[in-house]
Amino acid sequence: MPLSLDDVTRIAQLARLEISDAEAQQVLVQLQAIFALIEELQSVDTRDIEPMSHAQDVSLRLREDRVTEADQHELFQSLAPQVQAGLYLVPKVVE
């Protein structure tokens, strides 16, 4: 499945990565090489094989629905680029 320049710009949009035309061109060449490597996966028949997410056959642990965490929002928000009145500030989203 050869990658096109349109694919690169589309994926970059999805990944929220701004990319110039020149960069997209460069990345396209590199990604094509990487996808040539990945194509090898198609050479094996996996019809009856169960996909494996990770090694151990465990399921998500459940816990009691109780409040156990302390409120540390001041500490955590002290790291934010822009905060006001306990809210994270970002450019206006809703017109």
Binding site: R16, A33, I34, E40, L41, Q42, A55, Q56, Q72
Partner: protein
Amino acid sequence: MIDASLSELAQALAQKQISSVELTQLFIDRAQRFNPELNAFVTLDPEASLAEAAAADQRIASGQAQALTGIPVAIKDIFLTRGWLTTCASKILSNFVAPYDAHVVEKLRGAGAVNLGKTNMDEFAMGSSSETSHYGPVRNPWDRDAVPGGSSGGSAAAVAARLAPAALGTDTGGSIRQPAALCGVSGLKPTYGAVSRYGMVAFASSLDQCGPMAKSAADLAVLLTAVAGFDARDSTSLERPSEDYGRDLERSIAGLRIGLPREFFGEGLAPDVGRVVQAAVAEYQRLGCRLVELSLPQTRLSVPAYYVLAPAEASSNLARFDGVRYGYRAAQYTDLRDMYMKTRAQGFGAEVKRRILIGTYVLSHGYYDAYYLQAQKVRRLIAVDFAEAFKRCDVIMGPTAPTTAFKLGTKTADPVQMYLNDIYTVPAPLAGIPALSIPCGFGDADLPVGLQVMGNYFQEARMLNVAHQYQRTTDWHLRVPDRFD
């Protein structure tokens, strides 16, 4: 002191031959002296380290020392360390001071170990050379024009140059084992789920594991014992009884069956590495082990599978870096979307962006089945290969890396060339099995070669025993590059 083992250091501290403050100062001095030429550390904070050392001295004096109390340990900059900058060697976290400790850091603090400093790495652990760091590449103590391997290159270089007695690293596709091999030190990736990932910045969640890096298998056992164990805050942490990973070090290995996969000794392996590893295997035969030839048929698909799964998981994990709650935010942007686009374009390096793009693509509508699902099925086949192999052998051995340390800048132009460094290390994380690397000699140009030992799930104690018995009769692991002697 700089060559002392962890137990020798503990003894020296207990017998008051040296204090933790003196010991920590010794390593801080070395780290500061040699960091300009190795770039192994992103952050050193002597004041903070010495304060921890002073507290450790008090603890030792009151008779409450544990195995690591008062001993400085270098910590890969991917682990959150409260009050310290934690950058993941990325511009996007270059201003991020961690508000809490990773679980493994909590364990080290609880044991009274001293944080010596945060080590340099490939950005977000994506790399095999420690060249993608925002803070510049790490250099190999054995040849400063060569890479130390990656992504835990800073930790490996620090131990190799005796700037730290031990270090923590992370391994997703080989990032502990490969730099350990290229730098002539020992490193271990535990069974998936054995060590908590809480507070360890996520790259590929189903593959990432924290592990120890040190001068010997005995030291790996001490560090692993200190940090392993169940943690409810990591949803993939396994509930198992706690282990002393050094309990079997002195066990006899006579009759041990060593599996040698033919795919690990074929095309792609540099002749000098092959020779040195074969010599190490011959040494094991002399120690009474039996060699078993076997095949891991899906080996050739492990790199493609890894480079679908890891980037896919990374694309999801790195979505959180958007300039809203922490880290770098672009200085100028028009709207929210533009803020995300510019923050991430400016904050991430080229390799990270490449992997996010790969990951986004393989997870996208229309491609998920052909790529991601297929890779997960191949992953199952790889795990089955190992399960079959372990019916016929106790451990599997082979080279850790296909070559010795390559020169800086020689593989950065072609990502695929870089990815092929991982051929022997990616199978273990895909299957979730433990694997370690120990030094076993030198190749051409006097560069270190690593021997990889892989074991079945939860076989770390046995693997460390196997490694230790080799280190009892050889001295590769004691070698130090002349400059750092």
